[in-house]
Amino acid sequence: MAQKRKVTATVISQKQIGEQIYDLWLETKLAKNVHPGQFVAVYPHGESMLLPRPISICETDQADRLRLVYRIAGKGTAEFSACKAGDRMDILGVLGNGFPVEKAKGKRAFLMGGGIGIPPMLELAKVIGEKKQILLGYRNKDIFLEEDLAEYGDVYVATEDGSVGTKGNVMDIIKAYSLQADVIMACGPMPMLRAIKKYAAESGMEAYISLEERMACGVGACLGCVCKTTKVDAHSHVNNARICTEGPVFEAGEVDI
């Protein structure tokens, strides 16, 4: 894995693609050797805001261009959303383990994304060569990235209000279309991940889920962003794993969520 670095990236372009959702392309050497599901931590410029914001990598050209799709969640991300082409942004990366792409080899995969958990599915869909079904959950008709994802697999959409696709969430898509797969890769809100964990256990499937938590250092030092694990973690020697380092992707059975 490439050495972690803090670098200054240059904004190539940024546009709004949904309600509070922004699509940002950065020029940075961190774009090389990125695994799908890894993330970067982006620093606000305002001196009152100190900590970098963890944002999943949506796409990379594996050379010098990195795409981040994120939602405004507070003052830091609001500041990022105002950045224009040519602006500089300090980023720390590349962080985390990413999805175990090899686990999808020779298998049928569900790629499941909910809300702002959808962006990392794009790089994952590009990298997994096998046939895959991409299940996306949104709140309402304000949907994003589904066209990008449709280039790499069969896309199914669910919305909570039923305005587009299946009414409900990603689990309802599986029922509505009687879809089947052998392995699940997922990122999204905790209720969705809990439902996937339960479904995978009941149907004897492997599931790899990407978690999030409040972070400070992003590199495994501060122990701020831990999740509960079912077995004693090899690094911490207690039932906690660092989401920024051992994660953010865990086999669903390994974590107590």
Binding site: Q3, R5, L50, E213, R214, G220, A221, G224, V226
Partner: protein, 300 residues
């Protein structure tokens, strides 16, 4: 130019250390900085047995700083000695182990286990605000601080640093108690207890409700406490609280600290420790200062 300092007989190539809990056991930041360039690596708190720590969320950003309530999660002294210490011994820097415990016996067990290791100094954590038992309970009353300090001093083979809490009425009373009990040095300040509330959800941001505040916003409090303590005791002080640059470090030295530690600012800039070393050197060059020790307590 001479940046060397001595604390309790231990020589440091420069007065810059890491603040406990912000640097793991050095491994995580060795991607970013050459640990050989630091005066010391001060480890995350180590207890006699593994500790789970607190529920999440454990961290929150506040204006000009952060709150943490990690709760001293650590893998315990066995793993520290087998895994973390050998890693640190690959580097030409002092290793200072932060020791935590729930009872006096817990502390003494860790201190004894470290007695025949290559650890340079022990930093006794009697000031963590985020655990219910032990820790700060020993650090907020002068008589209990005196008691635990003297018991540790009886067993310790390495010089003992007592890490003081700012969450007291008069920190100089605590400093004097530690000195009277035989402490070799003091480190200060640990975090200041704070709280953050999410007004939209009407919930505490941290699962622990309260957390320790650190970062640049606490620096003036820390500088003031280091100054007052330096007036009150003769033992050396390691100063910390929001240090992010050479200028910040010099401020602590002038206030009376013999060395400094970089904490929360590691999270803001993973290269901070080495930049602080270079910043102190730049200041010495600018003002023609030959020995860094000439800066200690030199505020007029």
């Amino acid at each position: 130019m001479n940046t060397e300092v001595k604390i309790a007989g231990v020589t440091f190539k420069n007065p810059v250390m890491t603040a406990s809990g912000t640097f793991g056991s050095g491994m995580e930041y060795s991607d970013f900085v050459d640990l050989n360039k630091l005066g010391a690596v001060v480890t995350k708190g180590v207890a006699n047995v593994p500790w789970e720590g607190n529920p999440t969320p454990r961290v929150a950003e506040v204006y000009g700083g952060m709150l943490n309530a990690i709760g001293l999660q650590n893998p315990g002294i066995d793993v520290f000695i087998e895994r973390d210490l050998p890693f640190l011994q690959n580097y030409d820097t002092n290793v200072i182990v932060n020791v935590c415990g729930k009872t006096v016996e817990d502390y003494l067990e860790v201190v004894e286990r470290l007695s025949d290791t290559a650890v340079s100094m022990l930093e006794i954590n009697v000031s963590c605000p985020n655990v219910k038992e032990g820790a700060i309970a020993f650090g907020q009353k002068a008589d209990s601080l005196y008691d635990i300090t003297s018991q540790i001093k009886k067993k310790a083979k390495q010089p003992v640093i007592m890490k003081l809490s700012p969450n007291v009425t008069d920190i100089t009373e605590m400093a004097k108690a530690a000195e009277a009990a035989g402490a070799d040095a003091l480190s200060m300040i640990n975090t200041i207890t704070g709280m953050k509330i999410d007004i939209h959800r009407r919930k505490f941001v941290l699962a622990n409700r309260t957390g320790g505040m650190s970062g640049p916003a606490v620096k003036p409090v820390a500088v003031r406490m280091v100054y007052q303590t330096a007036q009150a005791v003769k033992i050396p002080i390691i100063g910390m609280g929001g240090i992010g640059s050479g200028e910040d470090a010099v401020e602590f030295l002038l206030a009376g600290a013999s060395a400094v530690a970089v904490g929360a600012m590691n999270f803001v800039n993973p290269y901070t420790t080495v930049e602080v070393v270079e910043g102190i050197e730049a200041y010495m060059k600018q003002y023609g200062i030959e020995n860094v020790t000439d800066l200690i307590g030199a505020v007029e």
